[in-house]
Symmetry: D2
Subunit: 409 residues, 4 copies
């Protein structure tokens, strides 16, 4: 078994683990070092560091302090890595921790970050998903079972000071355009809940003051939430600092394209088994700005889909210009409406779109003024036939099962 | 052989063919009638009605009058279809016309509609693609060959007067928000180049004055440019008028998600072999607003991809809020930059993204402020290895081949 | 459109068409010549040359003279091809003739060739399959519809005299081991029904006397009946004579692995669009004795299967030693028995296994004394659920439909 | 984590573990009991019980006593299971033991069981395969890496006395037809090395005297070595005794169709996570004699193959009648010859065919006198291009690496 270089104890606060951090900053000390060619394992907390529990209340989803996330394992220093290189990371395997074979999905309250459909689901809700080997089911969402497309939602290398400065300037300026918005347009550095890894004293304070929050994906990758970055895939990351500083966390047992429920996919604690190599000078050789990757040869093979279309006219009839975000929202709303005809609650339908291996395609982006997006719902994950027939939908979904909801206080 | 209910003669102007129309309007006379259960064939012009030629000049792409498009075959009346039904359309097969085994892809001049990357490719360019049975190659884009994912870019049923009024109001109001924009935000009715099918006199004038332009996808489907609506798929269309009035056109031999080059996919004249059925009252039974569909069991099976990420910070460094359109543009620009390292011109790379069976996924839309989109480039369509290696890219692409470019006059 | 180098008129006897032949012999005159790099089209008869008709009687299957088959289009001479080369053939497309959009499947009478399950189906039966674009259905086999995996059952190059002599000696000697067997162990040359292409007089007589029958696959390929040699595939054929002499015929709209019904797959008249290239000296360079090929990127993608096992103990309880033929027969009989539980007749079930894109895998061949073979039945071709459930099989199959049967006279 | 009902200690002899057995007999005591709906885990030895070691000598492959195999975990009693039921087993996951992340492949000496190509590889050889998460590589077979298609080679329920008697009679009679054959035609009961689980005294002696050897697949399933019975699949087993008595072992990290190397696939110790259900009376309801199964939605997705054909004329030129075993052997020999052109030794090529996710299809079984079989070699498992080109094969395979060989003493 390759060595586990970072271990996590789910009973311990992530703040007590010096090999965990929750900000991006070039000065976060390397938690461990490896050489090109090495295979190793990193354990990870779930993105909230254990705040969300396996129970039937959504209070934790309502109350979670989002300034604490994401708890990442790393940074891993790679000997010989220099700015301008590409760090090649093979995700040889990814799994849940044996003592934590479950995950959660939830919708944040609109007041606490909301989500893609927050206007339609303004209050905190949660579903718990149990893992059965390669598969998952939920006691809160009946009649659906699917194989996990296991992946890290968040992975990337440390920024250098120049890139960090650019991020902070870009996002702080952006927040300033609508400073009172709820939820905010972006999240600025926030020292109070910063976890700077093993940094102490002044260095820790500096990281707290300057460290970029981990929420958005950025040039280095980071919180991309790309479901296809799954175990078995191979990723080429830009390197900005000596040693690269690779960190990973926010593992998902499964997710639909878009991670539309925001909290999030099926979120879990777990481990990542990986191998690293270098392409020296690879950023210039291949013209790489953002990470690129090759998908895994082993992913769930659902190929019978029901596909929903959406255009960039919003649910209130307003015209938007080639706006794929709006178009995808319409496709999602259309799919939710459809699923309710078989007996699902809207919340359950939304949870399915957030967790199952749903594809979201950018189908048309030039036919002014309407973008067209499609949502691909795999039919084989349901234990009944969801396809349209002349006789109409059957009421197959078990009734009396609800997703926990916790209204704002 | 099922009957060919609509024939087109590529040497004849589409305006002379009464079973062709280029506007959406409830009063366009049915070109032909069928019964549920019928199989039949419709021939179609290419979307420009033959304006773009198989030659080595992009003058036609530069000069085409976009108020004339799209030339559609239909409407086909379906006996018994009533508002509120779902019209089930099986695309049993789709192909090019035997006397026209080629297609075109182009970029419009920025002054004439532009495209997804019009800031980067502001002038008219064209590539011609020859069909070799199931495959296509281009004399203007070397070292690439792929199987066609043949589909109609545009298909849908006639709107009723209420829906037509809503479309026109919505879009005309939208244009009014930036009336002088080039290209415009949307296209209003335009009588001069209207083709109302077999309508004559006052009826033709009415259709010309009120008929919705065919460019955008709308609630009825229409110009969705969804590559996966390919031959073998089964579509469920909302019905708004008695007889449904199904029209189809804008056939594509292949297209990447987004149809980013706008002019367009690999555009061709051809034929569609289809079968229709009805689900009575299906719109309410299944809560359907936009069309839904099941994909084909026969599509090109490329499964080895190189995937490019993009986030919603634009190419000038500007921050956008969860804007998938911007994110996908960055992924496309990243892929173009990458392909140039192997010897392609930027225009050739752009043409590949517009024509090959490229996937565009909405990967993350909740991680404020950045959306994340991915572009999936199939590696097996190239006759050399495009994957990153430690030794760097080889110069495999044949040099001295260029895509025709026609500067604005 | 590439040139159609060989045309067939389905109303004309294949014996009257000089570009058709039904024996393998080095002296059959080339019907046409092409150059490496050429694309061209060959039309073909169905394998029986039109003997089997689209009707509801199996008399023709019972009475067909199998000494006449297979009617092949060719040979096509390829300029520059020499013995020892590999002839690279791309099957750019394959289709049915527009005036013949149907095919047949049948079981021969045991007295006239029989088939894989001739002990269980000793009498002639037939089913007719209609083509609906990419799909097929049969009026004799209800509740099943599938996409065609279109391919030529028979394709290969002319043998040289030495190879021909080896074939004849090998097979004639083999027949001599059980000379009175019905059906015979093999088919020797048979002059009476020989069609030597354009050869006349003495040459025709020589070909009739020596020409190898086309029934078995041999070193050159020939009647391999490999369903995966489908349109879009690329085949590397050994070349034995100057000019190669490529012939093709026996087109199938679809077939299950094994072509177990023998008469045969879904047999059809049609056309093949192909392109040829050469690898000079390729047989030695790559150590090639039998053809090799790359499968098509476009084939029906059914991925939900019900898989039946069989072992090499025959249906009468007799033990055979690692005999995959016996094991596959058991898997087929198991599948037939299973399908009857849903209401199919045994003959209909057998026809489905012979025509649908069924896979036959050699699963274990070393575990003495039993080989294990598996038959993979795609579940998505049925319009009802064929998977086992606790409630038992539903009687979904439409009753009162039978496959024509013609007893021996 | 579901409970691990059977544990194995790889440092302990399997004969000392009472929950292991190596014979089929109705009287083997249940090792543990479960209820329908239960999930549980069984650990397993490798099939030889740890005899083959992770080293660079093939002495162990040469010397292994095959009368000891296979060491199975079980039998598991399922409450309520009765003869005539179908036992539904979901393989929720299968993996290697954490302390044993490697497997072996070997060829037996012809004197000790041989294998599919024993005439060509008459001496014992071995390769060791290391597991890297989802992937495997071998220090003895360079330039190849693939994802594991993990599965149990052997799984099934206990026979009842009548079935056991039939097996023994059938096989003993068969041995008697060539009693002096080396290797023998089959393996009779053999008391000396019998492991009867927890049975003692007279019962143990009875099991030793009567217990069927585990080598061949039989009506109940057993040693089917079906690579597609992989983790994620769902199997329906006939039940013959009260409680069913499910046993499993012989885990494979990967295997090619046929398990042609016999010793075997990539053999490993590991664990199986499974769930059981019952279909009461299912054998009659569905007409099931041998097990049936549904394949997994998660398996390696290699779809670019090079396919080799073989016909039933053996390598010495002898004609066989529709013999798929001979045909598949020719296809294998053709593939081995081909791979040597790139620098592999014949033994390495043979090992690749035995271990990689190679498909073996029964392509034609009716075209007298020749069967046709195909071997599908995935091209994406090699780190160089193995496809034929006009320039001939490159010498890409690292030289100086050999598979250990141990001549017979």
């Amino acid at each position: 078994m390759p060595e586990t270089l970072i271990k996590v104890d789910l009973k311990q606060s992530p703040y007590e683990n010096e090999k965990i951090h929750n900000r991006w900053h070039p000065d976060i000390p390397m938690a461990t070092w490896v050489k090109p060619g090495d295979e190793f394992i990193l354990e990870t907390y779930d993105w909230t560091g254990g705040y969300i529990q396996n129970n039937d209340s959504a209070d934790d989803v309502r109350d979670v302090d989002l300034s604490t996330v994401h708890f990442l394992s790393g940074p891993v220093g790679v000997k010989g890595a220099e700015p301008g290189d590409l760090l090649v990371v093979e995700l040889l395997d990814v799994g849940a921790k044996d003592d934590s074979l479950w995950g959660f999905n939830g919708f944040f309250s609109k007041k606490n970050g909301g989500g893609f459909l927050t206007e339609h689901f303004p209050q905190a809700q949660k579903s718990i998903w149990d893992f059965h080997g390669l598969f998952t089911t939920s006691r809160h969402v009946p009649n659906v079972k699917f194989a996990g497309l296991i992946h890290p939602g968040l992975i990337g290398c440390l920024p250098d000071p120049k890139m960090l400065a650019m991020w902070n300037e870009r996002e702080v300026d952006f927040i300033a355009t609508q400073p009172d918005r709820v939820p905010p347009l972006a999240n600025p550095p926030f020292a109070k809940t910063s976890h700077p890894g093993s940094a102490k004293g002044e260095l820790a304070a500096k990281i707290g003051a300057e460290g970029a929050r981990t929420v958005p994906p950025r040039e280095h990758g980071g919180n991309c939430d790309i479901k296809d970055l799954s175990r078995g895939s191979k990723i080429y990351f830009p390197v900005y600092v000596d040693g690269a500083g690779l960190s990973v966390g926010d593992l998902h047992f499964s997710q639909g394209d878009g991670e539309i429920t925001f909290c999030g996919a099926i979120e879990m604690a777990g481990w990542v088994h990986m191998k690293v190599e270098l392409i020296k000078g690879g950023m210039a050789k291949y013209g790489v700005k953002n990470p690129i990757f090759k998908p895994s040869p082993i992913t769930p093979q659902y190929n019978d889909y029901l596909i929903f279309e959406g255009i960039s006219v919003d649910e209130y009839g307003k015209q938007h210009y080639l706006d794929v975000h709006v178009a995808y929202r319409q496709a999602c709303l259309n799919a939710i409406e459809y699923l309710t005809k078989f007996g699902y609650s809207k919340a359950q339908a939304y949870a399915i779109l957030g967790t199952a291996p749903v594809q979201g395609h950018i189908s048309g982006v030039v036919d002014i003024p309407n973008a067209c997006a499609t949502l691909w719902l795999p039919t084989q994950i349901f234990d009944f036939d969801i396809r349209p027939t002349a006789s109409g939908p059957i009421q197959a979904v078990k009734q009396g099962i609800e997703m926990p909801l916790s209204p704002d206080l």
